[in-house]
């Protein structure tokens, strides 16, 4: 059980959600937006957070959109990872999201919840960072749309009272060649030791990483090193491993040194497969 009470609100519109947040904040109820609830429930039960109010976004139709438009795929942030996967609209995100937790939990975990969660891996961010996705946000000042890569810097940078409504995926990205390798320490269902996600765009690799550092990231400098075909795959993998935004992460899953070892081998194998035509851009 959760050993304290909170207020539960389920707005029907974006405006109601922002108004509920403002009103509950005025009452000093420390409201949190609520998607699938997995983290909020487990962390509340464990005593690591104590929200005075939760605002469930799953009653808002805009947050549940799942629609292929002429220019983009619209993914409401309150869709579960299972709903997105079963829609088979964006294979790259389906693959990345399909390695988050287990199937039953993915029936609850939402796209927005995974992106905004406290757990550092936020694995659904990787395809979004690579495919020029845009994000629709809503807050006290109303809606705003930004490039996902501008809003996601280690974590999603939201203004007070703001929440993710939708992700907009450009059509080209839905069919772009990609690959996704998640290396775990032991079990298939586990947090990543290193996840490497890659997308081919105009014949070049774009790569993003989770588990390697204490946050997911996409680094154009690192991509540049990987795309330098004048040097061998091994040398490129070595160079890329020297361009991390911070030292490799160490925790119970593996040391930073081991993560770097896994990264270099994974990248070298990837680059060899590309050179040998096993993976085509």
């Amino acid at each position: 059980m959760i050993p304290f009470d909170f207020v539960y609100a389920r707005p029907d519109t974006l405006e109601e959600a922002a108004q509920a947040y403002a009103r509950l904040s005025e009452r000093r109820r420390s409201p949190v937006y609520y998607g699938g609830g997995s983290e909020i429930i487990t962390m509340s039960r464990a005593g690591s957070i104590r929200p005075g109010a939760v605002i469930n976004l799953k009653g808002i139709p805009d947050c549940l959109a799942l629609e292929l438009r002429e220019d983009a795929l619209i993914l409401g942030a309150a869709n579960s990872l299972t709903a997105i996967g079963e829609s088979r609209t964006f294979p790259f995100l389906r693959t990345a999201g399909g390695r988050v937790a287990d199937h039953t939990n993915r029936c609850r975990i939402t796209l927005g919840g995974n992106l905004c969660g406290a757990i550092i891996y936020r694995e659904t961010s990787l395809p979004l960072l690579l495919c020029d996705a845009r994000v629709l946000l809503y807050g006290p000042q109303g809606p705003r749309t930004e490039a996902f890569g501008r809003v996601f810097d280690r974590t999603v940078k939201l203004r007070p009272g703001e929440f993710i409504v939708q992700l907009h995926i450009p059509r080209w990205a839905l069919t772009a060649p990609f690959f996704h390798i998640k290396k775990t320490a032991q079990e298939k269902i586990d947090y990543p030791l290193v996840t490497v996600a890659a997308l081919f765009k105009d014949g070049k690799l774009r790569t993003a990483y989770s588990g390697l550092c204490a946050f997911p990231f996409h680094s154009p400098r690192l991509d540049e090193a990987l795309n330098d075909r004048a040097v061998s795959p091994r040398a490129r993998a070595e160079a890329a491993a020297g361009l991390l935004p911070e030292p490799a992460h160490s925790d119970v899953e593996g040391s930073g040194e081991y993560r770097l070892f896994v990264l270099k081998n994974t990248l070298e194998k990837l680059l060899e497969d590309v050179e040998n035509g096993l993976l085509r851009g």
Binding site: M1, I2, V7, Y8, S38, H103, T104, R108, I189
Partner: protein
């Protein structure tokens, strides 16, 4: 907009029957099913979303009821193992294949397998494996459970 503060009466549709229950907004679906409605088939295991012993179906999809607020279930159809009735195809298969020992995890497995069969009538081995990874069993070693699932799909058993 729905807004609940303090104990509130909500309507829950469980196994086809409407129940009015008085809950706190922070009450978990698992606890309300067991303690308010006496439906003890969903088991309390890890309470952390890892083991799957508390799995029920919400609108036909498997959900770990320890990770869902009871208030969220209002307006949705909840199915627990009691709602399978005792003679569902998946239950007969589990008996036939001895797919349980202590039985603590069984109701969770039954619910996942029941949903799998309904959502993916043509599921192959990869889909079956993906769905079964949501639940833990510490007795059977999973082979008998896998055999039971193959049985409800009419699949032949793999050679030993």
């Amino acid at each position: 907009m729905v807004c609940y503060e303090g104990k509130t009466a909500i309507e829950l549709l469980v196994n086809g029957i409407n129940h009015s229950v008085l809950v706190r907004p922070s009450d978990l679906l698992l606890d309300v099913l067991r303690e308010h409605l006496g439906l003890t088939g969903a088991k309390s295991g890890c309470r952390n979303g890892d083991c799957g012993a508390c799995t029920v179906l919400v609108d036909g999809w498997p959900v770990k009821s320890c990770l869902m607020l009871a208030v969220e279930a209002a307006g949705h159809a909840v199915l627990t193992v009691e709602g399978l009735g005792g003679d569902a195809a998946v239950q007969r298969a589990f008996v036939e294949k001895n797919a349980f020992q202590c039985g603590y995890c069984t109701s969770g497995f039954l619910m996942v397998c029941h949903a799998l069969r309904n959502k993916h009538p043509e599921a192959g081995e990869a889909v079956i494996e993906e769905w079964l990874q949501s639940n833990l069993c510490r007795c059977t070693g999973y082979l008998e459970i896998r055999d039971a699932v193959r049985m409800i799909y009419g699949m032949s058993q793999p050679p030993l």
